[in-house]
């Protein structure tokens, strides 16, 4: 496959600078450049891509290749938004000495992902500022679940009762408020430890991974067609986006593209997912500042979308719709009319809701300047999606690296720089308004034809990335295929994993009663983070 010209010139420059130490590995897609580098060069390459080519470190993950290549591989994924491509740097780590140098001090965005590698692969981090366990809590035995010699169904000994040691915050009138993992609302589990002096929060420590379900290991144990259903269960509210990201990865590995109609239908479903989540979040933000009437209207609108989802795909959360090669069912004329009607009615109802919220000055008072995430902090932490766009990061995969049908439609990407709760709500509002336009344009241009490309056997030993701009932010799946329609590795990255540390920054200096609304304005997925 021919590389994109921009990636080709980057490859030439890098080869010129580092010589034969770096090799180029073939890929199936023109927008993925694979570089094989020795471990010593990982840091130098990191600063090259980070500083010189304005690459974002969009992911760090590992793979156990000891059986074939006698090494663990660590991959650094740089998203080069300017050239619409990705550079994946692969470095080998010898099993005799499983250690790697941390890049977190240079690129804070890598923090949690590096710790995850340490927990799941047993590769020790050198120079990480906070190398404590994260995925496997303190009472887990010494096991490395993503190593190939660890069995998915391993029976582990019962808990020993080891308690997690949080960092201590001391001083006059400083006290700690522990919250979770079982929360007061109907939300997922996680533990938050607030250190406060009076009401303002001095420091917030997050402890996640309560819902770690071994999903990445499970991917390696299922045939590919079952994996699509598993992908739907990574994060229920982004089920369709995850399933499509997974399908993209497999399709790209197989060198097959879904037919035009399938891509259009996928786009419709992705926008429906955005619709019901965004309006639900706007309502929930209002509810957290005690504007219940607005929340009720929002929940009513959301229910309307969920029912149309059911009419279109047989499931309210769009499950069972995606499949490798396309989608499982077509929309007939009646269903398309139902969708067009939904958009018209929803738009009207949503405009009323926006007026209602605008007319309530108390809501604005609570939301403006609350939970500020400054653009610089957002950039350092690599914050993506809604939260990124509310803090000045002008990025949207739908526009920048269009997937599915997004290259056929016109829309704008709202960006704000204030980074407060109000702006995170505004991003949602503006995106919803754009969504109406996207759905109408797709309905207008809806191509005829098949809805699925048949893929009987996915070739073995291919690697590819799949990506989707979900409603929350960019979702990446990376697959390494194995013989017999199976996977040797599937890395899943939900935007939540990237964005959680932003919450700790945004809440600082705010009062504890504002925490629910700040948390809601990010609305991150626990399950998507923990997998």
């Amino acid at each position: 496959m021919n590389l994109l010209p921009e990636l080709r010139s980057i490859l030439d420059e890098v080869t010129q600078r580092f010589g034969t130490q770096i090799r180029h590995a073939p890929a199936t897609q023109p927008d993925e450049l694979y570089l094989l580098a020795p471990l010593e060069l990982a840091g130098a390459l990191c600063s090259t891509f980070y500083r010189k080519y304005h690459g974002r470190l969009a992911g760090v993950f590992a793979e156990d290749a000891r059986a074939g290549e006698h090494a663990f591989f660590v991959y650094y994924v740089y998203a080069l938004d300017g050239v619409r491509g990705f550079v994946l740097v692969r470095v080998p780590i010898l099993p005799e000495n499983p250690e790697m140098n941390s890049v977190t001090n240079a690129v804070p965005a890598a923090n949690w992902q590096e710790r995850e590698i340490q927990d799941l692969f047993g590769i020790k981090l050198i120079g990480h500022p906070n190398p404590r366990r994260c995925v496997l809590h303190d009472d887990w035995p010494e096991v490395y679940p993503l190593r190939k010699d660890f069995d998915l169904h391993s029976k582990l000994p019962p808990f020993t009762g080891v308690r997690h040691k949080f960092r201590e915050v001391e001083g006059e009138a400083v006290f700690q408020v522990p919250v979770g993992p079982v929360h007061a609302g109907i939300i997922e589990p996680g533990h938050f430890l607030f250190s406060v002096a009076g009401e303002p929060v001095l420091y917030l420590q997050l402890r996640m991974f309560y819902v770690h379900k071994g999903i990445e290991k499970l991917f390696e144990n299922l045939p590919i067609h079952h994996c699509v259903r598993l992908a739907e269960s990574i994060s229920g509210d982004s089920g369709f986006a995850h399933a499509v990201a997974f399908c993209h990865a497999v399709e790209r590995a197989a060198g097959v593209e879904a037919p035009a109609r399938a891509r259009a239908l996928r786009t419709l479903c992705l926008e429906l997912e955005r619709l019901y989540n965004h309006v639900g979040d706007i309502g929930a933000i209002c509810a957290d500042v005690a504007f219940i009437t607005a929340n009720m209207h929002a929940m009513r609108l959301r229910e309307r979308v969920l029912r149309v989802n059911e009419e279109l795909t047989g499931n309210r959360l769009l499950r069972g719709m995606a499949c490798v090669g396309g989608v499982r069912n077509d929309f007939d004329a009646e269903q398309l009319r139902a969708l067009a009607k939904l958009v018209d009615e929803f738009e009207k109802g949503f405009n009323d809701l926006v007026d209602l919220i605008r007319g309530n000055s108390g809501t604005r008072d609570r939301l403006e300047t609350t939970g500020v995430l400054t653009p610089q902090v957002a950039l350092d932490l690599g914050i993506v999606g809604i939260a990124g766009r509310a803090s000045g990061f002008d990025h949207d995969l739908r526009r920048d690296v269009p997937h599915d049908f997004y290259d056929q439609v016109q829309f704008s990407v709202p960006v704000f720089t204030e980074g407060d709760v109000q702006r995170r709500m505004d991003v949602r509002r503006e995106e919803l308004l754009q969504s109406f336009g996207i759905i109408r344009q797709v309905l207008e241009k809806l191509p005829a034809g098949p809805i699925k490309a048949e893929i009987h056997e996915v070739p073995a030993d291919r690697v590819a990335m799949g990506f989707v701009e979900g409603w929350r932010g960019e979702i990446f799946h990376w697959v390494h295929t194995a013989p017999g329609n199976r996977l040797a590795r599937c890395k899943v990255k939900d935007p939540s994993l990237q964005n959680w540390p932003a919450l700790s920054e945004a809440i600082m200096g705010n009062i504890i009663p504002d925490f629910p609304v700040v948390n809601k304005s990010f609305n991150l997925s626990y399950s998507g983070t923990d997998r």
Partner: protein, 297 residues
């Protein structure tokens, strides 16, 4: 203020009258798979495509022939409909009210004589009429109902779900389903709760928290397991990081299948647990109407 009132008045009442009226579910919705047990020829196709192992079979020698035991487990089913795509004997209905008090009520089994080519033919034992709830169970439920009376407080616990079930449980509070019209209310602490509404699969990292939450709930208490994962572990099953269904950690009174169960199905299950479903025997449990037999425990 006036605008707020005007909008509310203009919107009017949107609340459903379920369960007095039937569930408002699209005819295209994927609910309970229905198997034509008499005509079923080959369980292998459906079992091969089922991602969660809801359709499984075991072949065992019986005299000179081979007997095939087939099971359809609604507690594992994620309602994807892949089985119906490959097997004409399976039809997907839109029935969503599937909650049951016993885990076995969700498991339907049949026995066939196996042919030489791997298909099966004559139905040896068809799924029959379910046995009724045992007397002890009935008495226990009656005593719980008398204590909890007409009002119920629920504490929801996510013990490992993908958050799909939480989305739908959240929907119970919206103006369409409005669970408070039954005097049912979600509370912030297990100490205030009569019922734990638990989603799963229970992860290793949440096991202790779930046990502690259960212990903190005053007796008499009810536990309702929600969703395929809560009933059985679902597509995740049991692995190094999960313990499987909720009943592998704490006792469960009612199971609500679904992936995720829609708000109607959730209401049905919750009302079933407190004995407040309208007395319509044919609709109490879909399995009854179907004439489906339970597997031995």
């Amino acid at each position: 203020m006036f605008e707020t009132l005007r909008q509310s008045l203009r919107t009017g009442v949107v609340t459903t009258s379920y369960p007095e009226t039937p569930a408002e579910v699209s005819s295209r919705a994927r609910g309970r798979p229905e198997i034509d047990w008499e005509q079923w020829k080959d369980a292998r196709l459906a079992a091969a495509v089922c991602p969660s192992g809801a359709i499984e079979f075991v072949d065992e020698p019986a005299g000179s022939a081979v007997r095939r035991n087939v099971a359809l487990d609604l507690g594992k089913c994620i309602f994807c409909g892949l089985c119906a795509d490959v097997d004409p004997a399976i039809r997907i209905t839109n029935a969503c009210e599937l909650a049951a008090c016993l885990r076995e009520d969700l498991r339907h089994m049949a026995q066939y004589r196996l042919n030489d080519d791997g298909t099966h033919q004559r139905l040896l034992e068809a799924p029959g009429k379910p046995e009724t709830l045992d007397t002890v169970g009935r008495q226990l439920r009656a005593s719980i109902q008398s204590v909890l009376g007409r009002s119920l407080h629920i504490r929801q616990v996510d013990a490992g779900s993908c958050n799909g079930c939480e989305m739908e449980i959240h929907g119970l509070n919206n103006p369409v389903y409005d669970i408070e019209r039954f005097g049912i209310h979600f509370v912030a602490s297990p100490r205030h709760a009569d019922m734990l509404l638990v989603t799963g699969p229970v992860t290793r990292n949440m096991e202790l928290a779930l046990r502690k939450t259960y212990d903190a709930t005053p007796e008499p208490r009810l536990v309702v397991a929600v969703g395929a994962c809560g009933c059985s572990g679902g597509i995740f099953g049991r692995n190094y990081a999960t313990c499987g269904g909720v009943d592998s950690v704490i006792p469960v009174n009612v199971y609500i299948p679904g992936c995720p169960p829609n708000p109607h199905a959730l209401l049905h299950g919750i009302l079933l647990a407190i004995g407040r479903l309208p007395q319509k025997p044919s609709r109490r449990n879909d399995a009854d109407a179907q004439g489906i037999k339970h597997a031995p425990a």
